[in-house]
């Protein structure tokens, strides 16, 4: 009987002591909060793993959102975040540098990765063996073909789809591409006006395709699922997302795929005006520009030194290799703008 009592007591003490040790360890772990654009999910999960393995005692806590939501976590929802990474570098100066209300959330960013628009598909897609860089708009227009893109009100890939199709008209010298692929399939329709040499695409407040040919979803996740389950033949996507999910894709000419600084002036000739202001802090006009991902550290980051170490890792050799290996083209060297922390300067060149 006595032996049983002692054994029970030892067990209880062991449980209490080990719980205390575990809690102590948890308390000692430093948390680094990183919020990133949804299309970075694959490389950032790997960056988290490797950064943690090289920094024992650091728990990198990752959270993915649309790029505007990434910034709003700091500026509107007032969460304490250490590192932000977005799919459109211009959002950082627009939303975080000295705001009209006088608040100043950041004063620098570093461009660290690029991307390009492609048309993703799989082996089951209709005319998969025919589609090329020069005939994609004809294939997509065929009556038995379905295609999709994300909602431009909600996702940068969505308004970039509208830019690509409008730019295609000039590149292919065919003034019907936007109308046939986009405008005709929506009720109310999506119209385009020309001001000088700039085209403005007006997205109505109700953005709904009226027939089954075109499918619009909130983001890439839903479109990937549709492609996988045969609900769609083609989808406009970022190249990195198509590659990371093992999809086939058609690369588009540099002149229209929003990848190249060489064609920056041409991209600027298309603007998309959104039907309502989803975020009070962001206006409704998006201007065509090359796709650059950027990272910054908010001024109120709880772990600023560790945050700098993380950004160093992302834009340094090891981070660039992870990005490249996971089909997210790194920008080499990264390009800094604003008051970039001194420790990051060797890894980036000023813009």
């Amino acid at each position: 009987m006595k032996t049983i009592h002692i054994t029970v007591l030892i067990l209880i003490v062991a449980v209490v002591v080990s719980t205390a040790i575990y809690q102590q360890q948890e308390q000692e772990e430093t948390k680094l909060k990183v919020i990133y654009a949804g299309s970075l999910i694959v490389p950032f999960e790997e960056l988290e793993k490797q950064f943690e393995s090289w920094h024992p005692g650091v728990d990198v806590q990752m959270e993915g959102h649309g790029s505007i939501q990434v910034i709003r976590q700091v500026t509107d929802i007032h969460k304490e975040v250490d590192v932000l990474a977005v799919a459109d570098y211009s959002l950082i100066p627009d939303m975080m540098y000295a705001t009209p209300s006088g608040e100043d959330y950041a004063d620098w960013y570093v461009k660290f990765a690029t991307n390009q628009m492609v048309i993703a598909y799989n082996n089951q897609s209709k005319y998969a063996d025919e589609i090329t860089e020069s005939n994609w708009y004809e294939i997509l227009a065929r009556p038995d073909v379905t295609f999709g893109f994300s909602n431009p009100m909600l996702d940068s890939c969505g308004y970039r789809t509208l830019m690509v199709t409008q730019l295609a008209e000039s590149y292919y010298d065919n003034q019907t591409i936007f109308d046939v692929l986009i405008a005709c399939n929506f009720e109310p329709t999506i119209s385009v006006t020309q001001e000088g040499d700039t085209y403005i695409v007006f997205v109505p407040e109700i953005f709904e395709p009226h027939a089954g040919k075109v499918v619009v979803r909130g983001g890439s996740v839903q479109l990937l699922a549709l492609l996988e389950y045969g609900g769609l033949d083609y989808a406009f996507q970022y190249k990195s997302v198509a590659q990371q999910h093992g999809l086939l894709f058609v690369e588009l000419p540099d002149q229209i795929d929003l990848s190249s600084t060489e064609y920056e002036d041409d991209y600027k000739k298309v603007k998309v005006r959104l039907g309502f202001q989803r975020f009070s802090a962001v206006d409704t006009e998006r201007v065509g520009s090359p796709i650059f991902y950027a990272v910054t550290i908010p001024k109120n980051a709880p772990q600023p030194e560790l945050a700098v170490a993380f950004v160093q890792f992302v834009i340094g050799e090891a981070g660039q290799k992870i990005l490249g290996d996971l089909e997210q083209p790194p920008l080499v060297p990264a390009e800094g703008s604003g008051v970039v922390p001194f420790a990051l300067e060797p890894h980036s060149k000023p813009i």
Binding site: H5, I12, Q69, I77, P188, V221
Partner: protein, 196 residues
Amino acid sequence: MKEDRKTIRFVVIIAVIGIGAIAAVMYTHPFGAPEEKINWNLTLIGTAEKVVTFDELKAMPSYEGYGGFFSTVGMINGPFKCKGVPVEDLCALVGGINDSNTLWVSAPDGYMMVFTYDQVKGDFVTFEPATLKELPHGELKTILMYEQDGALLSEDDGRPLRLAIVSEDKLLTEGHYWIKWVDKIAIRAIKNQNKT
């Protein structure tokens, strides 16, 4: 006698541990505390304008169903048991909504979404929680939720009012519709923005 004393000592130790555990649970999960008063005004704008307090909204006929959502990166939340007031009933308080209107739902954090009349009536794409595969659905209701899984909403979940899309089935909808901290619902005529 000696054996009895040992047994009593053992029972006392176990009892002390048990009482300690119960005390710890009560400390972290108190019950019986008076319900917190929620000061929140919901502004409804239609052909008329009306401000509804949280208590007034809670006193309206409610609808309960299941619903969940997923984020931009596919992170799944729910399905939860959701309780709230059908948005259509709220619209009825300020003149009602029809197919020539859209519904503009906003929150003090600066977020806003526009819903079509069909969406107010429950026309959404629904997804299977395990695979995110699109699935057909039965009747959906768009509600202004105040209770999730039997408790008032937490701050992170949009306390006190969050837009939710629910049904008898445990399905998901896209997360951007689930607006947190809703404080304004406006019925507007569809605007023709198209320039030709």
